[in-house]
């Protein structure tokens, strides 16, 4: 690990201001992703701003009938919250499908959204990677790409966003609430929060320099049958090859978001619109424009089959 200085944030506004004014500053929350990457010198912050003591660890009802989830709410606590279990079960399920009990006790809502890719070449500092070192090329294109993306990729990068939680947040139309270094607050729809790589794969979110996430807000519950199905190489403690978050409504409607397919949680209006026509139509709409490699072409079939399986479960 490279050396860094350490500071404990006093308030959200102070943290954001400090993050902008200190060169090479980064927030640290659970640390489960950032420290992992710092040990490998993939991340080399000069200054860490520890946000853990900020009062951003509450889950509160909103006036609109939804929930405001503090940036520091731990994944375990979010998954176990009674209101989340009852009204947003797909979110509980997605969280519980991720990582391990120990990691979920530490991982935070904001940190989970901002966790970085698990592309093997991003982790291998001896290989070119446009995301880790802009302009060096992409070793994955001609390398091992089995767990990489088939939707939303670019010629610069085909990495996926690995979060399970974010897929459910996308399905539920969450918004990400932030404060900027100058004190301005804003809410970013989750659809616009994660960026597609284009020719700047190193820029992964819509956050401006120093901008701090305060909370993630869920709109009022939509009812229906909630399902999160994660397909992976072993039954527990592994990232998704493909995951599907779905809510089925009694009128044969539904909405779908996908993990493991794209650089961001993947959701397509046309796929939601095809719900009444069944799994095949949803898969076709969701995967329209897919770009696969030899290694990851199987994800198309796997997505279609996963959809068929959850349709059968929901409509049984």
């Amino acid at each position: 690990m490279k050396t860094f200085t350490y500071e404990r944030a006093e308030s959200p506004a102070q943290a954001a201001a400090a993050a902008l004014s200190r060169p090479g500053a980064r927030f640290i929350a659970g640390g489960t992703n950032l420290l992992d990457l710092m040990k490998l010198q993939i991340e080399t912050p000069a200054h860490l701003i520890d946000v853990n003591r900020l009062e951003l660890d509450k889950i509160e009802a909103t006036n609109e009938g939804g929930l405001r989830i503090g940036a520091l709410v731990r994944n375990t606590d979010l998954a176990a919250d009674k209101r989340v279990r009852r009204d947003y079960a797909v979110l509980s399920r997605a969280l519980l499908a991720g990582a391990s009990g120990q990691l979920r006790n530490k991982a935070t809502t904001a940190g989970n959204l901002l966790q970085r890719t698990r592309c093997p070449y991003f982790y291998d500092t001896t290989k070119p990677c446009n995301k880790r070192k802009p302009g060096t090329g992409c070793a994955a294109m001609k390398g091992i790409s089995r767990n990489l993306a088939i939707m939303g990729t670019s010629d610069a990068c085909i990495a996926t966003h690995p979060s399970d939680m974010a897929v459910a947040m996308r399905l539920l139309d969450a918004t990400v609430d932030t404060v900027a270094p100058n004190g301005t607050k804003r809410s970013i729809p989750i659809a616009d929060f994660h960026r597609l790589p284009g020719d700047r794969p190193e820029v992964e979110s819509a956050l401006a320099p120093g901008e701090l996430i305060l909370s993630v807000t869920l709109p009022k519950p939509i009812g229906g049958t909630h399902i999160y199905r994660k397909v992976r190489d072993r039954a527990s403690y592994a990232f998704a090859l493909v995951s599907v978050a779905a809510v089925f409504t009694p009128d044969k409607g539904g909405r779908f978001a996908f993990g493991g397919l794209a650089p961001k949680p993947w959701r397509v209006d046309a796929a939601d619109a095809a719900a009444a026509q069944g799994a095949k139509a949803v898969a076709e709409a969701a995967l329209s424009g897919a770009r696969t490699t030899r290694d990851n072409a199987f994800k198309k079939d796997l997505t279609a089959r996963t959809l068929a399986s959850i349709f059968a479960e929901a409509r049984a």
């Binding site: 200085t5 489960t32 079960a89 089995r146």
Partner: protein, 210 residues
Amino acid sequence: MTVGNFGVVTRRTVLGASAAACATSAIPRAQAATPAKGDDAMVPVALRINGKDHHLTLDPRTTLLDTLREHLRLTGTKKGCDHGQCGACTVIVEGRRINSCLTLAVMHDGEEVTTIEGLGSPEKLHPMQKAFVVHDGYQCGYCTPGQICSAVAVLDEIEAGIPSHVTHDLNNVAFSDEEVRERMSGNICRCAAYSNIIAAIRDVAGEDKA
């Protein structure tokens, strides 16, 4: 070269082949204000470990795991992967199990830590430690401190009604072998003592009616 389950490329990853709540009274923290300019500023850190207060001055890079092992000689807690992938470093902080390798000691200033040494001693074993002995829940023993800390916390989590990936009804959490397997998946055992580990945990949970 193989690709590990978590994206890391190594010739053989750690995971390659297989797969008690503490008292809440916190000690006053050392005032870890912004250190003065300079790259290697040390930081004061106060920790209550197994009921005993420790006041340390650490490089901020020091993980909780290295603090325990290298600074306090509490070597019961093990380092397997150092990347959150194996669970050998599991300790209980403020009543919750975490991977001590993926957190900085300074982030826990003023907090309570329980390690395997704090759960019980050779003269007075914790029930979970005793059960691991009785059921042969280990072979080489390297993963065992982490397994035991995790197992103690798992029973608390089930008791507290925290659901898991295999909980059928999110609002009805109950002990089962399936639940224990899922909840213990963050603790890898290279010797594959898994079935005996489950037996030990089942025993402590009082579910071992056989």
